[in-house]
Symmetry: C2
Subunit: 332 residues, 2 copies
Amino acid sequence: MQRFVNDPDYIVEDMVKGYVKAHKDLIKRSEANDRVVQYVNAPVEGKVGLVTGGGSGHEPAFLGYVGKNMMDAVAVGEIFSSPSAQAFYDAFMSVDSGKGVACLFGNYAGDNMNVKMAIRKAKKQGVTVKYVVATDDVASSPKETKEKRHGIAGGVFMWKIGGAKAALGGTLDEVIDVAQKTVDNTRSICVGLSPCAIPAVGHPNFQIEDGKMEFGIGHHGEPGINVQDLKPAKDIARQMAKAVIDDMEPEEGSEVAVLMSGLGATPVMELYVLYDEVEEYLKEQGLSVYKVFIGDYVTSLDMNGAALTVLKLDDELKELLDYEAKSPGIEV
Amino acid sequence: MQRFVNDPDYIVEDMVKGYVKAHKDLIKRSEANDRVVQYVNAPVEGKVGLVTGGGSGHEPAFLGYVGKNMMDAVAVGEIFSSPSAQAFYDAFMSVDSGKGVACLFGNYAGDNMNVKMAIRKAKKQGVTVKYVVATDDVASSPKETKEKRHGIAGGVFMWKIGGAKAALGGTLDEVIDVAQKTVDNTRSICVGLSPCAIPAVGHPNFQIEDGKMEFGIGHHGEPGINVQDLKPAKDIARQMAKAVIDDMEPEEGSEVAVLMSGLGATPVMELYVLYDEVEEYLKEQGLSVYKVFIGDYVTSLDMNGAALTVLKLDDELKELLDYEAKSPGIEV
């Protein structure tokens, strides 16, 4: 196992320690809970509190999206595991300034269960928490049951836009509404070229043969739509963009934001090779690209692969996407 | 070869096309030369022009450091190969506004030769170009011959600080002096856990056995100081930090900036695991960490490994490091 790790059972602890040291101007550990990281100025007086959370191994997600005009706190889970209900609860309580809390997370069974338990517990303490789940992964369920889809890199847009709305003084319902609109307008797809290994396991739980690629792979290696022969980058890029746009069905002339995330072991250069053809495809569909993010935004440990996310914009979403923000994972 | 590529012989072209599409608000191709990318507002009237350049495969270096208050143009080479003298020359000419040009690049034989040829050619056209070479890689030559050392991730600090000085109205000599001071105050070291493969070759030119690590490996796989058993991350981090600090010999109480760059296939999480112990070591040496950058800053195709760079600061360097800048590779 060629990786930078101490005891694999404590990799999350070591990673969190490194994060709060490196970004101490923006984030700190919660005093209430070791598995909660919060914005240094949280709770922000008069502002809706924003919380996210999820399993580790997706860095900079989730803790890298805590910061100025972004999330106020994050519940940190073990590798590929939901944070505990207690961690979500402590995150809620650490950011509430009386205006309520919005919990913006990705759609996975464990996270759903724990968030809902935490919400009930917070309610008993008089703290109102509402939530939005990202369901951007078009490969994870058919369109007819799109509420079952998982959340992947599209969460970044939900956090950025929800964060801006709260920073601009939005009420809890307004923050929830615009985060939900963002989710409704976002679609993602992944392609995997090599598997990932959980450090404490030491070897991948699945394989991708040389010369093959897994189209629609999930962020934990969930089986995708199919296994195909590895194709030239142009063909992969077009296939990814087509999957997203066919599902989204944006009106011709729409403006979109595009995020191309590496999955952990993907060379930066290759994300740009993919993007080159993605933009060509989008233009052919009559879409115009308003803003682009390329790099490691939501990863899957040491997986080699890429996630394409497209967000259909309107004037409100553009303004919120462009609003100043500063976090380890994104800066605008 | 599990990677996102079309024809491997044209990967640089495809990557540059993707870069200028994705970041069209900041950069564009030069009309004079397909292998020159420039800041959209270059030449900036009244400002010293700033140029860098080098082989591709190190993205976001070098073209990702062109932008606002950063480099004004970059000469783009093929994979791991110097750009041509003509590309450097065209880059110089595209950014000169009459105040002269500073060329800030990494110390490799091909780049040195081509930059100097381009400088002579520019001189005949009445354009003054001065240069600074980054020599931050402590593993590439002993201290007695430190002028022979290669430039690796430390270039990022040279570009950031040189860019700020020029933006603040510094003369050519002032920009050169502060870039040289930055180089003099910067040290880096790499550790490789797996090799990289040039796409057109299709397989690595060297190997790192499982269970081993190459301490001091170069950014093109140049042999390092030695091959060691792979150690826990804490031990690797301390060994990296010690190599850098022993060579730098900073006064106790010094403030430093730290950059921890992945080499292309390194999971984000693991860079933080390393950083956690790097900061511990620096504190033990009586140093305080002023600013931290973690992510993919200077990579080596698909190499799994990490580069640690430390810059010793003074008031001038702190001010320039903090000065507003926006480029695809760094934003402050």
